[in-house]
């Protein structure tokens, strides 16, 4: 069995112009380190498929708190379940508004469950699925519907990402992965759906050290394993510090908004 351990740059070198890149963005389980490597890579015209597309304040980005929009200049389309794209403390907001206006950036909004099942359908290499969620809403617009046994369904296409960038707790050198807590999230589904999967992990162990019963993503789904360096803001050691920065900033913003509201202004 080949050793799959590589550097982030080597792993990301396999991303090409126009690729569909899927990643879990939702606090724990976000591939922060790989995402930074993607932002330094030349690939452009990417379609980014992620559960949450939330902009980060400029001051937080400088401190290593990143979001999916870190690769905005390389992005042509975003498929997301939840977006927050109008924030006055994030300069990306203006760029997004301008590029959507120009027609060089597109957003597709889908329900969270549909995001997951389209990836799952991709993993199973299905032709598509009929889903009852979203009937009568914007999700139905422009999509085929079909009544099966008296129930109306919306046809949803599968998503097969060219590249899946995932985050896991530990890997062995064969690419078997274990997760921790809610950092599992969409990562195992993205791993199964993608044609090429890169996992960033906090720790790499020798084959045999992970208990076979506990492995969630078997190594067959994983092409490259990247260790998060100790000095990276996403490392276990520095994570508390980064998270606290983020929490303090949010509290400061809330306090400012409350102060403005108390003065009778618009919060």
């Amino acid at each position: 069995m080949r050793d799959k351990v590589s550097t982030a740059a080597e792993a990301i070198a396999e991303v090409w112009n126009g690729d569909l890149v899927a990643a879990n963005f939702w606090g724990p389980g976000t591939p922060n380190y790989l995402w930074q490597a993607l932002s330094k890579h030349s690939a452009k015209d990417l379609t980014i498929c992620t559960n949450n597309y939330v902009l980060r304040a400029d001051v937080l980005k400088e401190q290593g708190v990143i979001g999916a929009a870190l690769v905005l200049s390389q992005t042509r389309k975003v498929i997301a379940a939840f977006s927050a794209i109008q924030q006055e403390d994030a300069s990306d907001s203006e760029e997004i508004a301008r590029r959507v206006q120009e027609g060089t950036l597109e957003f597709e909004s889908i329900p969270h469950g549909v995001f997951i099942e389209r990836l799952h359908a991709g993993a199973m290499r299905l032709g598509g699925i009929y889903c009852p969620v979203g009937i009568g809403t914007l999700v139905e617009e422009g999509r085929e519907t079909r009544v099966i046994n008296g129930v109306k369904y919306i046809f949803q296409e599968p998503i097969v990402p060219d590249v899946g960038l995932i985050s896991a707790d530990k890997a062995d050198k064969f690419g078997n992965l274990v997760y921790h807590g809610t950092a599992r999230a969409a990562n195992p589904i993205i791993a199964m759906a993608s044609k090429y999967t890169v996992a960033e992990v906090f720790e790499i162990v020798e084959p045999g050290e992970l208990e076979p019963d506990t492995i969630v993503t078997p190594g067959a789904f994983v092409d490259r394993i990247v260790l998060i360096p100790e000095d990276d803001p996403g490392s276990r050691r520095r994570r508390a510090e980064r998270t606290l920065t983020s929490i303090r900033y949010r509290q400061q913003k809330l306090a400012e908004a409350a102060a403005i509201a108390a003065q009778g202004g618009q919060a």
């Binding site: 724990p28 109008q86 329900p111 099942e117 914007l138 807590g181 809610t182 599992r184 969409a186 508390a240």
Partner: protein
């Protein structure tokens, strides 16, 4: 001017709908506060992949809990959660299968509810570029019981309980109960029934703040918390 209920009281009242043995997903905002008042034995679920967690750590005093916090354990509102006996972690495919299964009670915030039990929950405010659907359509569609908590009227004073939605539809005809800062209203097959009023308010006053027509329950009474 009579007092409307605080967000905390709305959460307390909504939490009274839960009983030991219930599985429940709480939406971001006021519903998340229900966690503080849910009876013991309610298993809370969060769509990022946790069931049966303990209370969240107070983010105002997060520094005091740094030693205890597991940075990999959050709810959908990004609050750090404590562990509780019987809790489980799972991936989001499992999570949404659970959400769609009809086994959970959903308590969610709302922008508008109609007299047919339609709800507008996700916003489309960002110049129609990107809707904030999130889990709202799955959680409303799949719920065993759907409870909406919201202010009775929007900031400009316009009613949020309406005859027909004017905001983008999230779910058609699935709302069971509306808990607002003025009233508790049940959605039945032929319309809305006013069950409870906030202390000091009369049914007539509630109707005046509601666009949809309310039937007054024979036993209408003041809300308890």
């Amino acid at each position: 001017m009579k007092e409307k209920l605080t967000e905390e009281l709305v959460a307390m009242r909504a939490a009274r709908e839960l009983a030991p043995g219930d599985y429940c997903n709480l939406g971001i905002g006021v519903p998340l506060n229900c966690a503080n008042y849910a009876p013991e034995g309610v298993m809370l679920q969060s769509e990022n992949g946790v069931l049966g967690h303990g209370p969240p750590y107070d983010s105002e005093n997060i520094e005091q809990h740094i030693e205890q916090i597991d940075w990999d354990v959050v709810d959908a509102g990004m609050r750090y959660l404590s562990y509780a006996p019987g809790m489980s972690f799972f991936d989001m495919l499992t999570s949404f299968a659970m959400i769609r299964s009809g086994r959970l009670i959903s308590i969610l915030g709302g922008l508008q509810v109609s007299e047919q039990g339609d709800a507008a929950i996700h916003s489309l405010s960002e110049e129609n570029i990107a809707a904030k659907i999130g889990g709202s359509m799955d959680l409303t569609w799949g719920a065993r019981r759907l409870i909406i908590t919201m202010t009775h009227c929007s900031k400009d004073g316009s009613p949020k309980i309406v005859r027909e939605l004017t905001m983008p539809l999230t779910i058609k005809g699935r709302v069971n109960l509306i808990v607002t800062d003025m009233a508790v209203i049940e959605v039945v097959s032929n319309g809305l029934v006013l069950r409870e009023v906030a202390p000091g308010w009369t049914p007539k006053e509630i109707q005046e703040q509601t666009e949809a027509n309310l039937s007054i329950a024979p036993d209408v009474h003041e809300m308890e918390f």
